[in-house]
């Protein structure tokens, strides 16, 4: 490469880029065509390619499986890619700069929204917490961010949209943000700053480096990395989850669950939250199961509450946060978020 004169090098790079772009556009168009024809393809594969009869349990399960798996995976790849690209615009460093010195209330709203949009992994929770708090972001505002980041994520939203439609996805986004805002604000009002491990405030404040804005090729590369890392990790759960869902779809009688997960059972929501908090799973594994539960008569509020408590609160994250938060603050944090989820579940069951 170094032997080539710059102009030839640039020209060949340019044509390679063009070829790449053409390939990607063709792949994207093919994906759209497949996506719109999935129902037909799934029915054809089930009843013509496989020796299955219509109106049988196995046929219904198989058709459901062959329709949902490619649909959800295609959506997931598309959305994770776009989100991966968009996230290069909002790094945790930039979020911190925008949140430092904000007042509560407005700060909580902004932090919850940033939590959705910023890349986050629960093993970064502690460095992020220290980074925010030492930069002067109020405790409650920081916690709003830490609540919304795991709870409202793109994988959950895609699956909810793909399997339940945009209304449920929007409800989830809205109520998830609301819980993050209200819980963070409440904890801020309780003045629990002295329940943060004192060494955190004694920490030297690391300076945010001013980075150069990434080039477009780097933003697109970030999208591809996101697809590889996120979809690469969750796809087995999606397939497994949909397989379980397909089984329930074909075999469990409708309204089977209505008696004990329906809206008339008052204890259903608290029980769902209680079961969900210690559980640790990703949205991908849980939503297809959730869908099957709903289809068989479980109430939406109960099911959403279960899902929120599984992905927003988990034992490993609580243990990680214990490094910076004292037990009283941890307990308050878990209790506030759990109460918020409970309220959302009960509200949905009452309204819908």
């Amino acid at each position: 490469m170094t032997l080539m004169p710059d102009s030839i090098d640039a020209a060949s790079r340019g044509s390679r880029r063009l070829a790449n772009a053409a390939m990607w556009s063709i792949a994207a168009m093919a994906a759209v065509v497949v996506y719109t024809q999935l129902a037909r393809i799934a029915a054809f594969a089930t009843y013509s390619l496989l020796p299955l009869e219509r109106d049988t349990h196995l046929g219904a399960s198989m058709e459901f499986f062959l329709f949902e798996v490619p649909k959800v995976l295609l959506l997931l790849v598309a959305v994770v890619f776009v989100v991966g690209v968009l996230r290069t615009y909002l790094t945790p460093e930039r979020a911190r700069r925008l949140l430092a010195g904000r007042r509560e209330a407005g700060g909580n709203v902004l932090a919850a929204v940033f939590g959705v949009a910023t890349p986050f992994c629960s093993c970064s929770a502690v460095p992020l917490f220290i980074g925010f708090v030492t930069a002067g972001v109020p405790l409650g505002v920081t916690l709003s961010f830490l609540i919304s980041a795991p709870m409202v994520n793109e994988v959950a939203l895609v699956l909810l949209f793909g399997l339940f439609g945009w209304r449920v996805a929007a409800l989830y986004l809205g109520t998830g943000l609301a819980i993050a805002i209200v819980a963070g604000w409440t904890i801020g009002r309780l003045k629990l700053e002295r329940r943060v491990e004192p060494w955190v405030y004694a920490m030297a404040r690391g300076d945010t480096r001013e980075e150069l804005p990434p080039r477009w090729s780097e933003r697109l590369a970030a999208g591809r990395v996101a697809v590889r890392e996120i979809v690469g990790k969750v796809w087995p759960y999606v397939v497994l989850g949909i397989a379980v869902g397909a089984g329930i779809h074909g075999y469990v009688p409708t309204n089977f669950l209505a008696s004990f997960m329906g809206r008339d059972a008052w204890w259903a929501v608290p029980l769902a939250v209680l079961l969900g908090v210690p559980m640790y799973s990703n949205a991908a594994a849980i939503i297809p199961v959730v869908q099957a539960l709903l289809g068989k008569g479980a109430a939406l509020g109960t099911v959403l509450a279960f899902m929120m408590s599984v992905i927003a609160l988990s034992l490993p994250e609580i243990i990680i946060l214990r490094k910076v938060l004292r037990p009283v603050l941890i307990a308050t944090f878990v209790a506030t978020v759990a109460v918020g989820i409970l309220a959302v579940g009960v509200l949905f069951n009452a309204v819908l």
């Binding site: 992994c121 093993c123 460095p127 980074g131 060494w199 920490m203 300076d207």
Partner: protein, 79 residues
């Protein structure tokens, strides 16, 4: 000699990052001081908020993702 720090609280992504860096350094046969840093204090001093992160001679070069081997090679000036 470069001083390379791989920072992270010990999650799988951080271990993977350490593995990538180790592999590059070993296959190039260069002498470096490679440290796996799990202390939050060090991360805070450097201003790191997303892990895994790679720091070369006190400068953050990677944050919040697993680097590719090629990136590490370029950062260390290995061709």
């Amino acid at each position: 000699m470069h001083r390379i720090e791989v920072l992270g609280p010990g999650c799988t992504r951080c271990k993977e990052t350490l593995r990538v860096v180790q592999h590059v350094v070993e296959s190039a046969g260069i002498q470096v001081e490679l440290v796996k840093e799990e202390s939050y204090a060090r991360m805070a001093t450097l201003g790191i908020m997303s892990t895994p992160a790679v720091v070369v001679d006190g400068i953050i070069v990677i944050a919040g993702r697993i680097p590719k081997a090629q990136e590490i090679r370029e950062l260390l000036g290995i061709s």
